[in-house]
């Protein structure tokens, strides 16, 4: 009965590769988010979607591309991975009428 799930939990890859992280929520929420947590544990928004429509697209390299096939899923695809992309990526969701966000377990990405 996991509310917000992400796969994989750990991802180790080499520079230049392309990888995807998947996120699914079963809370019936209309809005989903991607956050990045850096090595100092600072959390910052990357993207948000409401009903599959892009709402927030922060200053993120265009190597990062979110895709929302339906309201319950928001995937993150990263092209040409760089060392600086190493971080923990969190997916979250919230109901449309209230900005109360529930987070997934995170995906720790390590680029070597």
């Amino acid at each position: 009965d996991t509310a917000v799930s992400q796969t994989p939990k750990y991802l180790v890859t080499q520079m230049g590769n392309d990888k995807s992280i998947k996120c699914e929520q079963n809370l019936g929420h209309d809005t989903m988010y991607w956050y990045k947590q850096d090595s100092k544990k600072f959390l910052k928004i990357m993207f948000s979607y409401n009903n599959k429509e892009l709402i927030i697209n922060e200053t993120v390299p265009n190597r990062f591309s979110p895709k929302s096939p339906d309201k319950a899923h928001l995937n993150l695809h990263i092209n040409s991975l760089e060392l600086g992309d190493s971080a923990v990526y969190f997916c979250a969701s919230s109901p449309t009428e209230r900005n109360e966000q529930y987070f997934g377990p995170g995906t720790r990405l390590t680029v070597t």
Binding site: T31, I56, F90, G106
Partner: protein, 115 residues
Amino acid sequence: AQSVTQPDIHITVSEGASLELRCNYSYGATPYLFWYVQSPGQGLQLLLKYFSGDTLVQGIKGFEAEFKRSQSSFNLRKPSVHWSDAAEYFCAVGARGQAGTALIFGKGTTLSVSS
């Protein structure tokens, strides 16, 4: 600019002692206010939230927080800390009534519990 400040980077308390973690925010209007906890290697768990009404809110795991508008603060408290409370605590603010807007997080406070 919108921001959240958690003045204490690291706090150590004895098991059974009381706890208060500080949070101050700068925001255009009264935002939604949240506290999240992150245990080592885990995701973020919502501890409690303030939207409106009673300024003292109760959360999970015996935590409470008090919203003070005049001080732009939302401090987290627990009367008796357990060893399992050792974790990273984040205060966050968010816009009211706007779907898809970001939460702005503080830099976190690391709580250590000594026996």
